[in-house]
């Protein structure tokens, strides 16, 4: 009969072992709770893009409206990344030989796509529709943050299901007139605005599963 006999020094570690065993689960839970939360893993995600396109310059400084490039946002589920053709609308006249724009020019000439990295990457089983939000009065800034100040686009909001549901259950703080959807600095004029807007426009965001999961 072989019992495992702890070595004598183990007697001294009993108390510490107790503390560790008590704290370890809490540690692990906290680690995963905060570490695996979309607020940690997704917020701030700022991938390298093939072309150093600066929204701060184009959308912020130059004041180009979001919809000039992302022109499908009111008709389709995707606010599509514009084709190289859209860039060449200006860049066939401006900064025509800049090496930073070389991938764009190459794409325009060869017909091969520029491989942009997706920043706001929802899981494939979640189907988000931009037009449903933009045409009802949700501003770009509510989900994408101050893109007009971003040199490189990063994810500003967690875009987790819980975060989406928070607004779906209570859209009032995020509503704005449809004309102000691309206005990054617009704020609700008074605390009653959301409620009135919601009632006037019959805003009733669905919370059914099939709204997004199909």
């Amino acid at each position: 009969m072989n019992l495992f006999v702890f070595p004598r020094w183990a007697n001294k570690t009993r108390q510490i072992a107790g503390v560790v065993l008590g704290v370890a689960p809490i540690y692990l839970i906290a680690l995963i709770w905060y570490g695996a939360s979309p607020k940690t893993t997704d917020v701030g995600y700022m991938p390298e893009q093939p072309v150093p396109y600066s929204h701060a310059l184009h959308a912020g400084q130059l004041g180009i409206d979001c919809r000039y490039c992302h022109n499908t946002v009111e008709d389709s589920s995707h606010a599509a990344i514009p084709p190289a053709q859209t860039c060449m609308n200006c860049h066939s006249k401006v900064w025509t030989t800049s090496p930073k724009l070389a991938p764009i020019r190459e794409s325009y000439q060869t017909g091969r796509a520029v491989e942009w990295v997706k920043v706001h990457d929802l899981p494939d089983y979640a189907y988000f529709n931009h037009s449903a939000h933009v045409t009802r009065g949700i501003g770009c800034v509510s989900c994408h943050g101050r893109v007009d100040q971003m040199e490189k686009v990063y994810q500003h909001e967690p875009l987790s299901m819980g975060w989406c549901l928070d607004c779906h259950r209570n859209p009032e703080p995020n509503l704005r007139p449809v004309e102000e959807v691309t206005n990054m600095t617009w704020a609700q004029p008074n605390p009653e605005f959301g409620k009135e807007f919601r009632e006037k426009n019959h805003i009733a965001p669905p919370t059914d599963c099939s709204t997004c999961h199909r």
Binding site: K39, G44, G60, S77, R214
Partner: protein, 1066 residues
């Protein structure tokens, strides 16, 4: 916890040292006061070259990146402070996704949405107009073109499955030269050079050694190129061969009218329809989809009157399934039936003298049978009572005399010009396909053929076995086969050319009545294939033919741009339908009836007949590599991945054959061994076998002997010879006991035992409610009263009221013909995987929609009913109540939502479902069959091609997840959002589920039950409407309309009359 490591400290110090005015972060933003002491990206932490470059960028920007105001991140850091673990967990992000926009976006293109383009698909020379839905430049769904006369908005299972064939990785992707073992990859350039030599050699003899063997095509452009080819090579010959085409219709028309004519039927104007071994509603019948619609249009009991359909046939066809009366008679006896009908009808109908004398009543054995005589006499009486409002149709594979007799019958009955009309068959050949192929084979054997161009088709596989076409082919000096796959014919040809799929080609085609459709490509040829049009043009002398130019050149009436664009947009060119012809019926003389045609019902071993029919799923074998079609349960047998010989119960007993036995069928000195299935309602003495299975070089799905992949099913072409081409006689059978494999049928094929069968018979009247028109007229509510139940109470508080949309569906069992096009449409729309033969046998099939087939009555004389069952979307769903994780929830519009990502695979929901409409992914079917998922990127080109068939609007499910019909929720959502965006209401019929959209008869209707004017609301209010298993208080949103038949009182047994009168007093 360690603080920031020294290494990182150094990096951060580097950062702060490198800071100058241009890179010093300035905090801007609403209430943000964060200090830039932590890095914003891994690139920054690692000081990657890209980051450094960005740090020293071109022009000074006043605003730098402000770090995200993320408490979570800061908090985490404070708790942990372990930067390396931070790095580790931060890498717990899924693989990065790329967005690849178009370089130049065509005007009006919205990435991530689908557009419809009109095109057409030709099969056996008849085109069906289709809408193909293109998503981001690739076609993923086929629908019918409502403007096309042969589609009327419907598409058959074949059409739906062609998208899978388009992305089939087994398609050949290169030119191959050499035959058999000498095959090697080649190129179009090399072929071009070789062709130049072949053609110059042929020119010296004006093309005497050139033969073209082509499939039947109605394409006017191809006809033009054919004309040019024959003009360039006057001695050449063009042979048309379609293995499933029968010569009966053409030859019969010549017998009756002196010229070839095509028949067109207006079933909706007919009160009596008699089919002689004809499956008029089947998609393989000319204008079959349109026939299905018109035939069922006139069978709505609410109209007060219904047509009556008699089917006299050798096996249970779809038409027989919806008929009011069926008579099972061997195919060889149909000629006598036609003669008998002529004799009886002409005696009373006073035919015009120029029609000639009627036939005599045949002295046939089977006509002495009292039941048969009574049946035929009742049919004749019914026909005579409805002069000018009846239709008689002869089956495609019946001999010429039957067709001629039927032409005569229709003329005598005054149907011509009312329910039957004719157009000239201008494209008809002078001789039958078989005769033409025979002379070609003789020429090949005689060494007279220098160059044989085979356009499509697979003659080595499909030619009658006694011709030995494969050996003859080898004797041609050079043989060139243009086909989608390197099939049996390509393996023996000296050149194989990859063909372009119809979704990749320009072309044109005519419908059965001559309406022109332009075939336009939706995607450039994936494998560098070329269409038959291009090849023939090249042969005819055009150096580098452009198919678009060839098609446009063939249509001078469409030269104007607006006319051309209109033809492309609508899919049909108006006014191109052939003009009605008025053929003059000639006297037929006495139709000779020889021994088998005068026999008795049934037959002894050695005297059986064998009917060869086109396979309802894989056609003549060309779709053998199409997994969707292989796995589609065949309408009657529900058999998948196999073919079987069908035998009637009585004959099987006489021959000692049991259900699912392995039997050898011998025709002359040829025999094959295959599965035998007992088919209730099948004619005694007749065997039926479908062609197209047993392919040896179809591909990895259908059979590829060179890679040890067994052929699927048995090759019936091996039994076919020039004699007895459609119907072979003198057939014998030998049973070998049970087959060694498990038969993969989705509906139980084994006998359940007497008590079980009895129980089924007792229960079925409640599930598939049927009645006669008399019963219905007498008491429309009889449908509800079939099931009595206690008042339905719910354990829960009355559910939420559905104030917004209330989705519901109504399926009319009177209209469902069981064709199963809906099943394939659902598969195409919803990314439903294929599971393979073994898994189907285990009951693990994945098709969301199933069409149940029930037999009624005696096995010898069975009636058939079909019932499509999607998820019933119960308001009180048993499945929702038992899901432990809430993966299936009820939406506010009444849909039973299935959330795949939440499902953990307990399968309790499927356990609780009374309808068994839930399907479980036992394995990673999509990954295993396609080879790619979003989480396993692949460079395998084959996998990438296969993945193109997926519909991006629907999640691709992984292993361990339950799935089911969702009422095409993606279509519902898309239309809802579109309508809401512009603030307009949704119209009825705007949302069509995939099954509804493709159904040829319009049996499935989906819509908003809250819309009082919606079609579905009206249908659910009908007295005929009932819920399946409604007594369980599930409150299903799907309701069925009971099947009402219109039997002939003279033919209904006396007991039924007694029943009806009993219920009067009951």
């Amino acid at each position: 916890m360690s603080s920031i490591s020294d290494k990182s400290k150094k990096r951060l110090s580097v950062l702060s040292n490198a800071s100058d005015a241009s890179t010093a972060p300035v905090s801007v933003g609403v209430g943000d006061t964060s200090k830039p002491t932590y890095w914003k990206s891994l690139a920054e932490l690692e000081q990657s070259p890209e980051f450094l470059e960005l740090a020293a960028r071109e022009f000074a920007a006043p605003l730098d990146q402000e770090p995200p105001n993320s408490p979570g991140r800061r908090r985490f850091m404070q708790i942990m402070g372990a930067s390396m673990s931070l790095a580790g967990l931060d890498a717990c992000r899924w693989r990065e996704d790329k967005i690849l926009p178009l370089s130049r976006r065509p005007e009006g293109t919205i990435p991530g949405s689908s557009r419809y383009f009109a095109t057409a698909m030709e099969l056996n020379g008849n085109a069906v107009g289709l809408y193909a839905s293109s998503y981001d430049g690739r076609p993923i769904k086929i629908e019918g073109n409502p403007a096309h006369p042969d589609s009327l908005g419907a598409a058959a299972a074949f059409h739906q499955a062609t998208v899978l064939g388009l992305y089939d990785p087994d398609r050949s992707s290169s030119v191959v030269s050499g035959a058999g073992a000498a095959r090697k990859a080649s190129s179009w350039n090399e072929f071009g050079k070789a062709l130049g030599e072949i053609l110059s050699a042929l020119r010296t003899s004006a093309g005497a050694g050139l033969r073209v063997l082509a499939e039947r095509s109605s394409s006017p452009s191809l006809a033009e190129q054919k004309r040019r080819l024959l003009a360039a090579f006057p001695q050449a010959k063009w042979v048309t061969f379609e293995p499933t085409a029968s010569d009966g219709p053409r030859a019969g028309s010549v017998l009756a009218f002196g010229k070839a004519y095509r028949s067109h039927y207006a079933f909706d104007a007919a009160k009596v329809v008699v089919t002689l071994d004809a499956d008029v509603v089947h998609p393989t019948f000319p204008a079959g989809l349109a026939n299905a619609r018109t035939l069922t249009k006139n069978r709505l009991p609410e109209a007060g009157e219904m047509s009556r359909v008699y089917a006299i046939e050798s096996c249970v066809t779809l038409t027989g399934g919806i008929s009011d009366h069926r008579l099972a008679v061997k195919a060889t006896l149909i000629k006598s039936v036609a003669a008998y009908l002529d004799a009886v009808v002409s005696a009373k109908a006073n035919p015009l003298p120029e029609f000639g004398a009627a036939q005599d009543k045949p002295a046939a054995e089977f006509l002495k049978d009292a039941k048969v005589a009574k049946f035929l006499d009742s049919v004749a009486a019914d026909l005579l009572a409805n002069i000018g409002r009846s239709v008689v149709v002869a089956g495609q594979h019946q001999p010429a005399q039957v067709h001629a007799l039927v032409h005569r019958l229709n003329a005598v009955l005054g149907n011509v010009g009312r329910t039957v009309s004719y157009t000239e068959d201008t494209g008809a050949e002078a001789e039958s396909d078989l005769a033409a192929l025979k002379s070609l084979t003789e020429e090949l054997n005689g060494g007279k053929v220098e160059a044989l161009l085979i356009l499509g088709g697979n003659p080595v596989f499909t030619a009658p076995a006694d011709l030995a076409f494969g050996d003859a082919l080898a004797k041609a000096k050079s043989s060139i086969h243009l086909s989608l796959y390197e099939d049996e014919t390509s393996l023996r040809s000296s050149w194989h050319l990859p063909a372009a799929h119809y979704l990749e080609s320009w072309g044109d085609a005519l419908s059965w009545n001559g309406t022109l459709s332009i075939v336009q490509p939706l995607i450039a040829p994936l494998h560098g294939g070329k269409s038959a049009l291009e090849i023939v043009a090249e042969f005819a002398g055009t150096p580098e033919p452009k198919p678009l130019d060839l098609v446009r050149a063939g249509h001078p009436e469409l030269t104007a741009e607006h006319a051309w664009r209109r033809a492309l947009a609508s899919g049909v060119v108006d006014g191109t339908a052939a003009a009605h012809a008025e053929p003059k019926l000639q006297a037929l003389g006495k139709v000779a009836l020889v021994e088998p045609e005068l026999g008795a019902l049934g037959g002894a071993n050695g005297k059986l007949e064998l009917v060869f029919s086109v396979d309802p799923k894989i056609f003549d074998g060309r779709y053998a590599n199409n997994a969707w079609l292989q796995e589609l349960p065949e309408s009657m047998t529900k058999l998948t991945w196999d073919n079987a010989v069908m035998i009637s119960p009585r004959t099987a007993k006489e021959l000692g054959v049991n259900d699912a036995d392995s039997i050898t069928v011998s025709v002359g000195n040829r025999q094959i061994t295959l599965l035998a299935l007992i088919a209730p309602g099948h004619a005694d003495g007749s065997l039926r076998i479908t062609l197209g299975h047993g392919r040896t070089a179809a591909g990895h799905v259908g059979g590829l002997v060179s890679e040890s992949i067994d052929p699927v099913g048995a090759n019936a072409y091996a039994l076919r010879s020039a004699e007895g081409y459609e119907i072979a006689t003198g057939v014998s059978v030998q049973s070998h006991g049970t087959v060694s494999y498990r038969v993969s049928s989705t509906q139980d094929i084994y006998t359940v035992g007497e008590i079980g069968q009895q129980g089924t018979q007792e229960r079925l009247p409640a599930l598939v409610r049927e009645g006669t028109l008399e019963e219905f007229k007498h008491d429309p509510k009889f449908v509800e009263e079939i099931v009595e139940h206690n008042p339905l109470l719910s354990l829960w508080v009355p559910p939420v009221s559905y104030d917004g949309h209330k989705w519901g569906m109504s399926i009319d069992l009177n209209k469902c013909i069981g064709c199963s096009a809906c099943v394939t449409a659902c598969q195409a729309e919803n990314n439903i995987p294929v599971v393979g033969k073994e898994n189907v046998a285990k009951g693990r099939e994945m098709l969301w929609l199933r069409v149940d087939r029930y037999y009624k009555g005696e096995p010898e004389d069975a009636e058939v009913s079909f019932q499509p069952i999607p998820c019933q979307q119960c308001e009180n769903a048993p499945c929702e109540q038992v899901c432990p994780v809430g993966a299936t929830m009820h939406s506010s519009e009444g849909l039973n939502d299935m959330v795949y990502n939440r499902c953990i695979g307990t399968r309790y929901c499927s356990n609780n479902c009374p309808y068994k409409v839930r399907r479980f992914n036992y394995f990673n079917y999509n990954l295993d069959t396609i080879g790619v998922t979003p989480y396993t990127p692949t460079d395998d080109p084959k996998a990438k091609v296969k993945a193109m068939v997926f519909n991006p609007e629907v999640t691709v499910r992984s292993r361990g997840v339950m799935e089911k019909c969702t009422f095409c929720v993606q279509r519902i959502q898309n239309v809802k959002i579109k309508a809401k965006n512009v603030k307009r209401p949704i119209e009825d019929g705007e949302i069509k589920t995939a099954c509804q959209q493709t159904c040829p008869t319009g049996a499935i209707v989906f819509g908003d039950l809250n819309d009082g004017k919606a079609q579905v609301t009206g249908l659910q209010r009908l007295p005929r409407s009932y819920a399946l298993l409604g007594e369980l208080n599930n409150k299903p949103r799907v309701q069925y309309l009971a099947r009402i038949k219109n039997p002939n009182p003279a033919l209904t047994p006396a007991e039924a009359h007694a029943e009806a009168s009993k219920s009067e007093h009951g």
